[in-house]
Symmetry: C2
Subunit: 370 residues, 2 copies
């Protein structure tokens, strides 16, 4: 049985036997605390605002962190993107945890900040659970917020093996599906599927501010869905968008080109019909590519099994090799009984890519199984 098998209750908890320290007990931090507590992990909570810790403790997300405790197995900086670098460096340099991750929705900027500020940046691995709500605070926390959601890890070639294995164990424990990509690929992807849609939802909702009441009264479930995420916290989203500005602007410039085509088409009915139809069809096609509620848009993955020996840094080197060469690992399982000299790492990749990845890893000296 895999030590990290999410199906077995409590599995993976041993990687976190020294407890998890969560810094920032808002929606995501408190939800993570709830999920880890349910899996039997000791959770310490810290927040710049003592009242937030109190509320998170009240909902069952953990206990207040106390001074001079031994280092936690893993600390999680659940703070806005621009604060990650400072918080992570402080956690590492003051020995509050052996390894540190974060949950910010951008990854390049925090990683650069950590490299600049921390003495041992290799003990940090950036990560991002693709989960959230349009409400905030520990009172809105849900223990199953991460259930079935992707949790992206972005190790680089300096990342320590234990940082990756512990973050992986945590992601599995709370029911998420871990995957790895480079920080740049992650940031481009979230600009596309999260940050730009958020801004566009806000742009649509902003049209309703200065109109007569009878006009908005006709609003139905469609526009209610389109604009739901526009209720998100403007402060938090300003920081997220600023931290991923270039990638978001790329997506929105493409959207603007399409919008101009639509405006031209609307200015010349009925000859504009063709252009409108094309945009609407692209919308149908694009929508069909989104995963369904439970992975509806079925994607087949191929698995590459890599033999990893027990020397320090092997796992981090493997991820760095795969990610650095542009391979996106869609799911990761580690079959590695503690104390065994070797383990098997299963990397799921898009069908068609597995041979290329196997060949590439063999060339880099890895032993590929089967």
């Amino acid at each position: 049985m895999s030590e990290w098998d999410a199906a077995a209750p409590g599995a993976g908890a041993s990687a976190l036997s020294g407890g998890v320290l969560i810094v920032g007990a808002g929606l995501v931090g408190a939800s993570l605390g709830l999920a880890l507590r349910r899996a039997g992990v000791d959770v310490r909570l810290r927040d710049a605002n003592a009242a937030v810790v109190d509320e998170a403790v009240r909902v069952g997300a953990g206990r207040p962190a106390v001074a001079d405790e031994p280092p936690a197995s893993l600390a999680v900086a659940a703070v806005p993107p621009e604060a990650v670098g400072e918080v992570v460096a402080e956690l590492l340099d003051h020995g509050a945890a052996e390894y540190v991750t974060d949950v910010a929705s951008v990854k390049s900027l925090p990683a650069a900040d950590v490299r600049e500020r921390a003495k041992e940046p290799g003990r940090y691995v950036g990560s991002h659970p693709m989960a959230g709500r349009e409400v905030s605070g520990p009172g809105a926390a849900l223990p199953d917020l991460f259930e079935g959601r992707p949790w992206v890890l972005c190790p680089d070639d300096g990342t320590h093996q234990q940082a990756v294995t512990r973050a992986l164990a945590m992601a599995r424990l709370v029911g998420a599906t871990p995957m790895t990509m480079t920080a740049a690929d992650h940031d481009a992807a979230v600009a596309l599927v999260s940050h730009s849609p958020h801004l566009v939802a806000a742009l649509v909702a902003a049209r309703f501010v200065d109109v007569p009441a009878h006009e908005v009264r006709l609003a139905g479930p469609g526009v209610t869905d389109v604009t739901r995420i526009a209720s998100g916290d403007p402060e938090l989203w300003t920081e997220i968008l600023t931290a991923n500005a270039a990638a978001v602007a790329d997506v929105l410039r493409g959207l603007r080109t399409d919008l101009d085509r639509v405006l031209d088409a609307l200015d010349s009915p009925p000859t504009g019909r063709t252009a409108l139809r094309e945009v609407l069809r692209s919308g149908v096609d694009g929508r069909a590519r989104l995963p369904g509620k439970r992975g509806g848009a079925h994607t087949e993955f191929a698995t590459v099994v890599v033999v990893v020996d027990d020397r320090p840094g092997q796992l981090a080197r493997l991820f760095a090799d795969a990610s650095g060469a542009g391979f996106n690992v869609e799911d990761v399982r580690i079959d590695h009984s503690p104390g065994q000299p070797v383990g098997l790492v299963e990397l799921d990749v898009r069908v068609g890519v597995e041979h290329e990845l196997s060949a590439f890893l063999r060339e880099r000296g890895w032993t590929i199984h089967g």
Copy 2:
């Protein structure tokens, strides 16, 4: 008890005792048939495609219309906007129904078409139930599609009283909340809360067509909601958008101005923060103005009660007076026992407008109650 009181089962059915003929048995037509059948109304179905009628009959939406039946009390043209004029004129001129309405999501263009084509356009009143789904066809029909939804009637000063009363009775029977506005006001409102959001959802979804699978795999519930309506039928939506092109373009030009501000802001982080925050805050404010699932955004209405005598055309003249002067009637109740010489019409309007409307109607010769 009001003849049109929706709370009493079967009430209002007497206004439709000659049955309802539905032309176009797709999603909206078949849903209307289901809802009317449930209220005990005889429903005849007609569609250019015989297989569609068969399926609608199978789901219980009514019976196939047969040749040489006496005229129905009301016919409903449940066809795309550009077909309404021809279908309505044919229904009126061939005596298939005494009065006719439609359910198209634009109102100015069909009304102009009907005026041009029909011999007695006053027997037609345009209407629009604010209800739909992103799937189509009679197989997706729901009897409670209209439950609690606004149903807009757009009478003009030529509209016959019975056209309005029968369309009103039908809207109440299927659980909708009838309201009246001018066709131009209606078209501006739906451009804002329905047509533009549809196009923008398509623009967001269109970005997903040509990107790697691992990027769309990160999509979560947020973008799934933003783009849900982008799955709607491109042919139908091309016609809707073409028929309401000018009003939709007005809304989208405003949105593009905001989008350009956002792009400027993203190109100059961190100084762009202020502009981003403003757009995001406007999004929060605009979203808060949308009605909740069950009328959550609470709006108070004031009621103006008008005494209407039993002469032909009185009700139509009342609506034409109110709508023509720019008053939007948010709900209508008619307390009018058949055979009584006078009845009371309750017009709900926005609080603050009631005195102005009362004064205006008095000036036009109406008797205002209380």
